[in-house]
């Protein structure tokens, strides 16, 4: 009896002693599923997240490393291993890209599934957001299918069960979906000219056209490439006004972001949203750290002489003793070579700074090891003098620009009916003029070239104009030119010990596609077999 009373008092006492937290406590600084989809602003946050997952500087530079433009000389990273012919399904890069791209697709699908929960949302605003999301999803699938070929394909949020059993869909189905999507959304999007200043950087009708052209280009569907390029060249009233920016080097200046040449870019903001790859690509004396990704000699060799001649054709004025003199000005805007007039070409306030790379010439000298360059070159394009010392740059990465449209058009015309002077003068000529060529021989339509010679001219023009912009690997891939460009000895400047550079190996039957990550096949056997040529 007594005991019971004690217990009763005790219980009471404990209850009152409790200054305890409640058992039901949801997080106070995070939204839960129930409290999130309440406003257009919050829906917009998800759209913003999707934009950030669409593309980034890391992917651009990684793609560049897959090509013959650059060489990752410091350590054997995955890109370099692939080019050495050592790609295996367990490489991290295969796993990580796969994961990141499907992560982006998840964001898109969650948005599409949940956006209707937002009460009283403006219909036009919603339609535009949905169109942006579908564009982003199309871009992600495009990248996926470019890298891996047939991939799991679904258009709404996938369940866990399905993710464990989904099989791969052939590339054609995905590509036609992409075209259909882009066609469906284009009218829900504004043109570049309709964008308010605050909206610069958003997806436009012009970006839809450019992506259409690029997707058709991958399949060499020339008539559609011409169709969509023509939209941007000749129907600018409907698709937005674009033009070549007058200054090639200036195109990659932070001050000139969102200029008339840019169709789509990936946004970065100084100090707040930055990318940092540059620190391992520039001379040590200018703040470089451990130089890894450096240009290859074959890229340097592709730049024309100012006279319009290549460095090797008969009658060239190329002088191997002064290999960088009288070259296409885009060389100087893209690559740092021995004797580079830094102060003259980089507006960073320095005076009389020259980059010397010859062995024994100082800090930036090639010495065959350590933290310096392994090919005798550094990268200039996308170097941003406004970036702080750690090179974390706020410069946007241009993903599609008008020059690319002109070059795609030129290539498509040449591949169908052959290049004409008229088309040349609308495409290659303005690009060369803008680059700074003045010699007639460089600007005028070259007469008497065979179809193959003209093809090479157009391809080389594309290589130098678009160098360091992440496109080269995809060009080689669609040209099926892996053996031509991606095998054999990597070369550097004349003073480089070539024994230290890789010999690349390209398997035509295998290397145009990446392997589906082995870890994913292990989780979902329906993803097997892997792409041809890849073991386990």
């Amino acid at each position: 009896m007594k005991l019971r009373k004690y217990i009763a008092f005790a219980g009471m006492a404990v209850l009152m002693l409790c200054s305890c937290n409640e058992m039901e406590n949801a997080p106070m600084n995070k939204f839960t599923d129930n409290s999130y989809w309440t406003s257009a602003t919050k829906a917009q946050y998800v759209v913003n997240m999707a934009y950030s997952q669409m593309y980034n500087a890391g992917r651009m530079w990684s793609d560049e490393s897959l090509s013959d433009n650059v060489y990752d000389g410091r350590s054997v990273d995955d890109q370099r291993a692939i080019r050495k012919g050592m790609g295996t399904p367990s490489l991290d890069i295969f796993k990580n890209e796969w994961k990141d791209l499907y992560g982006g697709i998840k964001t898109c699908h969650v948005f599409l599934e949940k956006v209707d929960l937002v009460p009283n949302m403006d219909a036009a605003l919603k339609a535009r957001m949905v169109a942006e999301i579908r564009y982003i999803r199309a871009s992600l699938y495009f990248r996926l299918t470019n890298l891996y070929g047939a991939v799991p394909f679904f258009t709404e949020d996938i369940t866990l069960e399905k993710s464990r059993s989904v099989s791969r869909t052939d590339r054609e189905t995905i590509i036609s979906f992409i075209h259909q999507e882009l066609e469906d959304i284009k009218d829900a999007l504004p043109t570049r000219d309709q964008l308010s200043e605050e909206e610069r950087g958003k997806i436009t009708k012009g970006a839809v056209c450019a992506l259409q052209a690029r997707v058709y280009l991958m399949d060499s569907d020339w008539s559609n490439v011409m169709l969509y390029c023509d939209n941007l060249m000749n129907k600018q009233g409907e698709y937005g006004t674009y033009a070549l920016f007058p200054d090639y080097a200036g195109l990659f200046d932070e001050a000139n972001e969102y200029n008339e040449e840019v169709i789509m870019d990936r946004s970065y903001v100084p100090n707040l949203i930055t990318w940092g790859e540059m620190v391992d690509m520039i001379p040590l004396s200018r703040g470089g750290r451990a130089v890894s990704r450096v240009p290859q000699q074959s890229l340097i060799d592709t730049y024309l002489m100012l006279s319009g001649k290549t460095i090797s054709e008969t009658g060239t004025d190329y002088n191997p003793a002064y290999p960088y003199d009288n070259r296409d000005p885009r060389l100087t805007a893209t690559i740092i070579y021995d004797g580079y007039d830094w102060s003259g070409n980089v507006d960073d306030g320095s005076k009389n700074v020259v980059i010397n790379i010859r062995p024994g010439s100082g800090t930036d000298a090639y010495d065959g090891g350590g933290n310096g360059t392994s090919t005798g070159y550094f990268t200039r394009k996308y170097y941003n003098p406004q970036a702080p010392g750690d090179q974390n740059s706020g410069m946007n990465i241009i993903t599609m620009r008008y020059a690319d449209i002109l070059l795609m058009y030129a290539e498509a015309v040449h591949e169908t009916s052959g290049m004409t002077e008229e088309v040349w003068n609308k495409t290659i000529r303005p690009i060369r003029e803008r680059a700074g060529f003045t010699a007639d021989a460089a600007l005028n339509f070259p007469i008497g070239k065979s179809k193959e010679e003209m093809r090479q001219i157009i391809r080389d023009e594309r290589r130098v104009e678009m160098a360091m912009e992440g496109l080269r690997w995809y060009d080689i891939k669609r040209w099926k030119a892996g053996n031509k460009y991606l095998s054999g000895k990597v070369r550097g400047a004349s003073f480089v010990d070539e024994n230290k550079l890789d010999t690349r190996k390209f398997e035509e039957a295998r290397d145009y596609l990446w392997a589906v990550p082995i870890s994913e096949i292990n989780l979902n056997p329906n993803l097997a077999p892997n792409n041809p040529g890849y073991g386990n």
């Binding site: 004690y6 005790a10 002693l17 937290n21 409640e22 839960t32 946050y45 996938i158 800090t363 010990d497």
Partner: protein, 1057 residues
Amino acid sequence: MKKNRVYTVSSLLAWIGGNSKFWLVALPAMAMLAQAPVAYANAEVTSVVQQSNAVKGSVKDATGESLIGVSVTVKGKKGVGTITDIDGNYSISCNAKDILVFSYVGYATQEIAVKNQKQLNIVLKEDTKVLDEVIVIGYGTTTRKSAVGAVDQVKASMIEDRPVANMTDALQGAAPNVVIQQRSSNPNDRKTNFNIRGISTVNDNSPLFVIDGLIADGGSFDKLNPNDIENISILKDAGAAAIYGSRSSNGVVLVTTKKGKKNQRATVRLNGMMGWQNPDILFSPVKGYQNATLRNLAATNAGEAPKYTPDQIRDLAAHQDEESWFFDQIMRTALQQNYNLSVSGGSDKTTYMVSLGYYNQESNYVGNNDFGVQRYNFRTNITTEVGRLKLNAIMAYTRNNSVSTTGGNLEVDAARVPTYYYYKMKSADGRYLLNDVLSEFNPLGSLEAGGRNKYRNNYLNANVNAELRLIDGLKLRGVLGADVINDMRSTRNLGVAYYLNEEATEPRPVKDTDYRTSNWNHTAYLINTQLLLDYNKTFGKHNVSGLFGVTNESFTSSSNDIEKKGVDPDLGIGTDITNSTVGNITGSTFVDDSNRTSLTSLLGRVGYSYADRYYTEFSFRYDASSKFHKDYRWGFFPSVSLGWRLSEESFMQTYKERVGDLKLRTSFGILGNQSIGTYDRFTVYELYNNSYAYNNQTVSGAGFKLGKDNLTWEKTKTFNIGVDASFFNNALNVTLDYFYKRTNDILMKPLVPTVFGTDMAMDNIGEMQNQGWDLSINYRLRTGSVNHNFNFNIGDSWNEVLKYPGHERISQIEELSRLTREGCPLESYYGYKMDGFFQSYEEIEASAIPVGGKVQPGDVKFVDRNEDGVIDSKDKFVLGNAFPRYTFGFNYNLKWKGLDFGMFWQGVGKRDMMLRGELIEPFHANYSYNIYKHQLDFWTPTNTHARWPRLTAPGSTSNRNNYGNGQGSDLFLMDGKYLRLKNLQIGYTLPKTWSRKMGMEKTRIYVNGQNLLTFSNNSFIDPESTEFDSKMGNSGANSGRNYPTLRYYGFGIDIEF
């Protein structure tokens, strides 16, 4: 009357609980009580002495030393008593038929009948009755002989006077299967793994810490002053730990802090310890010219041009006397100091203890004399009895100060630069220099000029405990505890100007982002309330005990972090107006990161024993945690234990007399673990600042993390069987235990195809078993006037993963590879097995090599396990495991008159240790440019039975075969067993007569050393260092790239008066 009083107390407690203001008043008042008992004790001594009908005498120990403060009471008469004075004398008034009781801590209590004597001189014997030793268990105590759980005791004497940095250090080797691995000796960044009985989950494996009955935040244990510890009980099996329910599966560490003793005069203890710590760098580079020569060999072996010309090498050889290694340049010997002052004592109703502690350990990094840590401890413990009520108040405050460098990778950056005389970190005129190895910053610049992190951590613990004796044997206890934690960090990153070379006039551009000011504040409080009913009564041969309680623990924390880039040039910090693009706050800033949890529990224990022979005990805890959804919130954790003292049986009478005590015990129960994030069950959307931008204006993005409603506890079924035996009249005590644990419902993320797009929520899916044994042996020996004490303990555990998402997972840590596979121990080393080195081209021709590989004689040959002619992933083996096995500790103490000697050895009997990077591979991966002395036994055509493969340049195909194939091989595998003399101490206690002359009761001086000797199979790495945390996760600093182990030499003094 009785009833009324109870009523009053209960309602008082209730009122107190509702009135937080009461505590504001009460706590200081209780602290002030500390003064009172002193006066009280004096008064009583005086009054007793004035009695005329007195018995007088002295109390001495076996060696003839007077014992001061021995309690002398009259049996059966409450409130009558005295204590011996400074000369061991006492005087007490009593009747001729009374019985006097003499009791003193550490000595056997004696009862002497007065029998009309006026003078009674007593010799107290040291108490060696291990069986009656009090054992602290969950929510109570028991004795050694009745303990039925697996409980280890660590006494104050094991901890005191050792130059340990914190409590975790002090426990290393102290008890079997208490596995403590020190991952970094950096005083500013101490990292230790604490495992009790191995690994039983893939989640948190650290034990639960309970300090003076209150469950504490894990970090609080190391905030204690080791000198304040009276006793540590380590609860290992279900029988002992189940009463802590949902958090007990990794074992429980119960800490009892010191308190005053009843009827003890005020004793002041002062001790000081001071010593020096030397960084013990175990590997060293070769001379510069040798390095250059060997680097040329590596290059030419790989078909590359040599890096150095003969002239350059001659130049290096000519200047070899000017060489100095950067690693040596950034480390120094540092001072460590430790001072403690305590006052304790008590009357027959009240005891008190007040202590102050100060600990200061300098960093061994050069560059800033402020680098290092200081700890200030303050503690009071007051107990008083008022009638049936016993009140106990503990108040403790700890302040930790720490100043550390903002630099990172200092050791490896310093170690990887060759010792060439022309490499300097600082020019003669004080400019920091770069070179072709360190092209961004150098360690000395970071240390001297890079700024600092400053931590100011406060910890306040208040613990009020009221115990009311209700009826005989039944007690009601109410406990209110509060831990208040307030941590601050201020970081000042400064840009350092580095010059590309000594001639350079302009520094390398200094990063704006290197100038960063950030402040972080964290506040947390843990409120602990308990109400317990405790019953214990003996009826003849039957003993019945019972405990029932309700408790709640509420934890609340919140923190904020603000960071600004760029600083005001005059103030050196960011200001309110530092708001330009450069000065904008960065993404890591958060205003409120908060966390609230609550755990409400019912707990109980029922015990019955018969004739000190048969014991049975049942205990349980019923926990509800706010981390789980309400339908899955409650968990029940029962245990049952049985004990049988065979030696009490009549048929064992001869055994008992001739051999000693023998007890068998066993227990079975279910223990829990709730190691998930507070809000893991919710799907949450998190907003991220600066996710994207339009028109260069940043916008936020939202991401989400999936949660799952039906999460619940991990449950560990635990079985234990043990035997306690004593021999030679209790001089030798042996305890042996075997345990088996099986953990179900381990909280893990299911393996999800990345096509799913995000991580899946945690789920109860894993399963693991873990078993092993503990053995401890204690032997006391007296030879003449020499006392010896031997303590040895050893334990082993091994685990096996039973269920794992995807059945197995291979993970890569740079060149190493690990495997978690069902049927194997968690995170085993995995990779190829070496079959020596290729000795000839013919051998290569006839052997399997990796796909796409190209090798030469002197390169590593791997075993083609499936004999398919190629080395690929199917040829891998499970190569070993990094969790220590056969961990042991050995403590030996010797006392001879005033001299004492103690040594403590500790080690690991079996452990596999894989290393990677520059300590294995010379000129590692274009990162390190050194070859170290231990790497010189490499393969050459004339040294074909070498330890290491031939030298090859980084990036070459041979190099990739040998080191960099990303698959791991047993080339990296080392034997990690070791034996270490952890501590050595020699002391001398001055004869009392000398001490007295100086006004002291006891004076002891000693010298001591730590980490003095290590026996290991690998000369170049501390065998204790590990790159894995307590759940075998990869934890960063690895393969010797960490702060060197410290060797300590010092001295100290203990004074008592």
